[in-house]
Symmetry: C2
Subunit: 200 residues, 2 copies
């Protein structure tokens, strides 16, 4: 099942277990970052340069971190984000061919030492993902990319998951909703065991 459904489910499960949670997304998460998202996703005649796209992604991320993520973390909350810098490695490096070392530089510049503690990768076959996007309606600038692009994106995500297997949990999103949600339940229990909840 889709990413949004499962993020909502995950958020509910964490909140039911007493976690104070901020649910957000990238690119976006603040009004300004959402404006940048619109610039990034808009279908336009003018082709978007690779470097332009990359700098816009990190501009949105800088704002997101400074104005939403860091204040939330400082207040002891958890932050659940629909995409983060792994998506930049997958889409811009994997998909577009941007150099990994350049993304690492910008990651360091914008994030300092801030990295996600835990990452759920909902993995589905390319064709499943593409037909779900089409079902949602009008395709955005990324969703209009071809099969090869999404193959490279998926391959990069799976490679990242392998390289950082301690942080990543890959869920087979082609399973049934109860199966996926069963896995999410277990993950919530594990996370709470590992990190506990700072109750006010």
């Amino acid at each position: 099942m889709g990413k949004s459904t499962n993020i909502t489910y995950l958020a509910e499960q964490l909140q039911q277990r007493g976690v104070e949670l901020v649910v957000t997304r990238e690119p976006g998460g603040t009004a300004l970052a959402e404006s940048i998202r619109n610039v990034l996703l808009e279908v336009r005649e003018e082709s978007v340069g690779e470097l332009t796209e990359l700098l816009l992604m990190f501009a949105a991320r800088a704002q997101h971190i400074e104005k939403l993520i860091e204040p939330a973390l400082s207040a002891g909350k958890w932050v659940l984000s629909d995409r983060f810098t792994d998506a930049t490695y997958a889409y811009q490096c994997g998909g577009r061919g941007v150099s990994v070392s350049l993304v690492r530089q910008l990651e360091h510049l914008v994030q300092g030492e801030l990295r996600p503690d835990y990452t759920l990768l909902l993995d589905a076959p390319i064709d499943t993902g593409m037909s779900r996007a089409r079902e949602r309606g009008e395709l955005d600038r990324f969703e209009r990319e071809d099969r090869d692009f999404f193959q490279r994106v998926r391959d990069t995500y799976l490679q990242l998951a392998q390289e950082s297997s301690g942080r990543f949990h890959v869920i087979d999103a082609s399973l049934t909703l109860p199966e996926v949600q069963g896995t999410i339940d277990k993950i919530c229990d594990e996370l709470l065991q590992c990190w506990g909840v700072r109750r006010k």
Copy 2:
């Protein structure tokens, strides 16, 4: 007199002398870069992070260079831009306090070796600039900054002009229009003598 009036005059003078010219501006210069300009200039409740602003400036610049400036230069045209990276040093470093070394890094990343050959700095007292902005109507996000901000911007511009005196020509914009335009005429003649015009 104001920057727009004089840029128009300068463009006309160059074109009359046979220069094939592209007149553009920053942030902006392409449809996408103008969208980024709108994001940058919009007055909003959310404060804009320094790094966000800087990355947005360079995202717009990357697009401007790739889609407009480099193609124009490759076609043998001259490019006259209302603001360029000096403005980033003046506004973001001087005005906001962003580190010069960070701007240098991004300049190198986005521009490679591309630098302006010649820069006209129309210098006017702070109060003149601020009241001209007010006369133009609704102030944008930068124009709403205070006097101290614009003092730092002006000081930085003048310092850049001193450091790169071979490239900069400072015009006292508090002189009369005929005086300023007389100077622009002379500059056009000098530029044409130095560089000539590649006639088709």
